[in-house]
């Protein structure tokens, strides 16, 4: 069963094509990551799934049915720009959003979530008294309090500290364990790599990646070397077979030219300096993202 299915979807704004002929299929029960540079069409796609924006052409199906209000009610949506009624009390606000979503037994759910996200002491406080991190957690609860079967989260980890990031991450994975489908957009590539069953990348309105992490990496092959060596990146620049060096300070990521031999590269490095580690790996999602959307590809 498909949670979401988009077929040849096109959406333009004043002549600018925001989403171009997008076809996408999100299996039920999966965690699907949407990545892409700012302005590439992620939010527009999510808004079309929520029926907030209407596609110019193409078809969108939710749980194998055309978009309908009952279908939308099965989705929890957290937009990129957070918005809460500042003068409402936390519990009242969550109850309001839960009931607006046709949620059952909302009051009990609200209490459970407040307990779980450590917001019990703030339940009767007004939203305007909360910190940014707490507001974000409240926003997350507002999204999930109706027990949706599909959750759309537009950049859910932005602005969260590591502790709260883990809290939200655990909640997402628990949702999945309970059978729900989660789609989230993110600029945090490592989070996408670690959490997502499938990754979808959109660039300038076009789908450029779609699949599991390993299938995406397989298309690039093992063309990356991670090196820890004395003297750092400067000794790697002019080695034959090295296409690009990405310097992380303590470690360098080297992209090899097609057909290059990693052992020759290792030998050359060892002639120049001492090497403490050398791994031949598939490119990271971060690297793939940059290859597609970075300056070298003529992107942003």
């Amino acid at each position: 069963m498909k949670a979401i299915e988009l077929k040849d979807v096109i959406k333009s704004f004043n002549g600018h094509v925001a989403v171009n002929n997008l076809t996408l299929s999100v299996p039920k029960g999966s965690v699907y990551g949407f990545i892409g540079p700012n302005g590439s069409g992620k939010t527009t796609t999510l808004r079309m799934i929520m029926n907030i924006l209407y596609p110019d052409s193409g078809e969108i199906r939710i749980f194998d049915e055309p978009i309908s209000r009952p279908g939308i009610d099965r989705i929890g949506y957290m937009p990129e720009e957070r918005g809460l009624y500042k003068r409402m009390k936390v519990r009242d606000l969550l109850q309001f959003f839960g009931e607006l979503k046709n949620g059952k037994n909302v009051r009990a759910q609200v209490d459970q979530w407040l307990e779980r996200l450590d917001l019990n002491d703030w339940a009767d406080k007004k939203i305007e008294t909360l910190s940014k991190g707490m507001s974000q957690k409240v926003q997350f609860i507002a999204t999930v309090v109706g027990q949706p079967e599909l959750v759309l989260l537009d950049e859910p980890f932005t602005g969260l500290d590591p502790v709260n990031t883990d809290v939200i991450k655990d909640a997402i994975l628990e949702f999945q364990a309970q059978g729900a489908t989660v789609i989230f957009s993110t600029h945090d590539m490592s989070m996408a790599e670690k959490m997502c069953d499938f990754i979808f990348m959109i660039f300038k309105g076009n789908k450029v990646l779609d699949g599991t992490l390993s299938s995406i990496q397989d298309t690039y092959g093992s063309d990356t070397i991670r090196v820890r060596a004395e003297k750092g990146a400067c000794i790697l620049q002019d080695i034959a077979g090295v296409e690009k060096v990405n310097d992380f300070g303590q470690m360098q990521e080297v992209r090899m030219r097609a057909g290059s031999d990693p052992h020759r590269i290792l030998s050359e490095i060892m002639l120049r300096t001492r090497v403490s580690s050398f791994d031949i790996v598939k490119p990271s999602l971060h690297d793939i993202f940059v290859r597609i959307a970075g300056p070298e590809a003529g992107g942003t």
């Binding site: 808004r47 907030i52 939308i72 949506y77 957290m78 720009e81 918005g83 009624y85 926003q139 999204t143």
Partner: protein
């Protein structure tokens, strides 16, 4: 519908549970009726400083009579009977000899003395004032003061002067005043309504005495109350939508409800707030008027129309205000669009006076059938004692209903497109395009 009501309930609670609502409830009528209230409170606070007026009596027959009348007034009219407190200024008249050689120089000298506050004013009585005939210049009475147009002394002296002139003219005609005692008796024309029949008993009911309060003040109060309700809710609607858009609440809500439900929820919440406010004013007003013994003046037959038109007006103007609020991305956009959003409700305020004076004239009828003006002007007309043709309020209501549907429909289309747009300043062409094309 359930979601719309859910949002409307939230909007209603958010509005009426604030201190601002209570304060607004008290302050709004004070602001709107401030001048009337101030007039009522301050009407007895007159300047009781005595006033002296100099008379140049070229006729030689009026000054004495005027001085005598002023003395009588100062003795009988300026003190409160029960307390003896002075409540009006005394008027004193002093005669000066007319300067026949250079009257203009005399007028200038007296004017300078008025400027120096030596006395309040001076009055010049022409020589032929008893028998004016063709000689209008010589028969004139001229009053010179800093603000002669609004001068109480000038207004008061007309009666004693004319009264004495009539006596002098009678004497000249050889008629003894005592033989025609009723000569100066002034008869007023009483204003009455129409005679009716008691439907229960069949008895003829005497006509009610007509009053300005009933003819003008009651309809104006009803109309102003409706206008007040519009003013309390419509600009607030625009700003509330703009805030929810700029604070990004709108998109969160749109994840659960349709844009049209969103707009209707806000509108119904606004209607609820207006109904609450108006119910407080109407019930409170009825209570106060009854306690003052003026129950007969309460226009109960107009109240259903009042609430029906108010409901339509709030939805009609509110829908457009919500749509305009949705195109605003910042506070200054909202400020510039607030006036256009309430303009259709303000226009009837410029034309209400001829309407209340002639509620069944062609002008009044047609203006009150223009749907944007109908709520306020039809309530105004219905509040007068005049019999408005029975079909007109119904036709007016149908027109308002159609316009309300049109505004809600167009507003909903604008709202849906504009609510998620950020950073685009509102342009009239865009607003029309969104309304037409969606």
């Amino acid at each position: 519908m359930r979601k719309t009501l859910k949002l409307a309930t939230r909007e209603y609670k958010a509005a009426v549970r604030t201190k601002g609502f209570i304060i607004g409830l008290v302050l709004a009528p004070l602001v709107m009726g401030g001048s009337l209230i101030a007039f009522a409170l301050l009407k007895d606070r007159v300047d009781t400083k005595d006033k002296t007026v100099v008379i140049i009596d070229r006729s030689g027959v009026l000054a004495e009579a005027l001085i005598e009348a002023a003395e009588h007034r100062n003795k009988e009219e300026i003190y409160q009977a029960e307390t003896g407190k002075k409540i009006k200024p005394a008027y004193y008249f002093e005669m000066v000899e007319p300067d026949d050689e250079d009257p203009r120089a005399q007028r200038l000298e007296l004017s300078d003395r008025v400027r120096n506050v030596d006395f309040h004013a001076f009055v010049e009585i022409g020589p032929d004032v008893i028998h004016p005939g063709e000689k209008s210049e010589a028969s004139r009475i001229s009053y010179y003061a800093k603000n002669a147009a609004m001068d109480n002394v000038r207004q008061w002296m007309s009666w004693p002067i004319n009264n004495h002139l009539r006596k002098l003219r009678l004497a000249d005609a050889g008629i003894d005043e005592s033989e025609v005692e009723d000569l100066f008796y002034w008869v007023n024309v009483d204003g009455l309504g129409l005679v009716t029949v008691d439907e229960a008993t069949g008895d003829i009911q005497e006509a009610k005495r007509a009053s300005e309060f009933e003819a003008i003040l009651i309809p104006i109060i009803l109309m102003m109350l409706l206008f007040l309700m519009i003013m309390m809710s419509v600009p607030g609607m625009l700003h509330s939508v703009m805030e929810e858009k700029t604070q990004r609440i709108a998109e969160v809500l749109l994840g659960s409800i349709k844009p049209f439900e969103f707009m209707m929820g806000k509108l119904l919440g606004g209607v609820g707030v207006s109904l609450t406010s108006s119910a407080v004013y109407v019930i409170g007003g009825i209570f106060v008027v009854r306690s003052m013994g003026f129950e007969e003046y309460i226009p109960f037959h107009v109240l259903p129309w009042f609430f029906a038109y108010m409901l339509m007006a709030i939805i009609m103007f509110g829908a457009m205000a919500a749509a305009l609020g949705s195109v605003c991305s910042e506070a200054k956009d909202a400020q510039s669009l607030t006036f256009p959003s309430i303009l259709p409700a303000i226009v009837p305020m410029f034309i209400y006076f001829p309407v209340v004076l002639e509620p069944v004239s062609g002008f009044s009828t047609w203006m009150s059938l223009i749907p944007l003006f109908t709520p306020t002007l039809m309530v105004l007309r219905l509040g007068t004692p005049e019999m408005i043709p029975a079909w007109q309020p119904y036709v007016g209501l149908v027109g308002v209903l159609l316009f309300t549907f049109l505004f809600v429909w167009a507003g909903g289309r604008i709202f849906r497109v504009a609510i998620l747009m950020q950073g685009t300043p509102p342009k009239l062409t865009n607003i029309f395009r969104w309304a037409v094309r969606g």
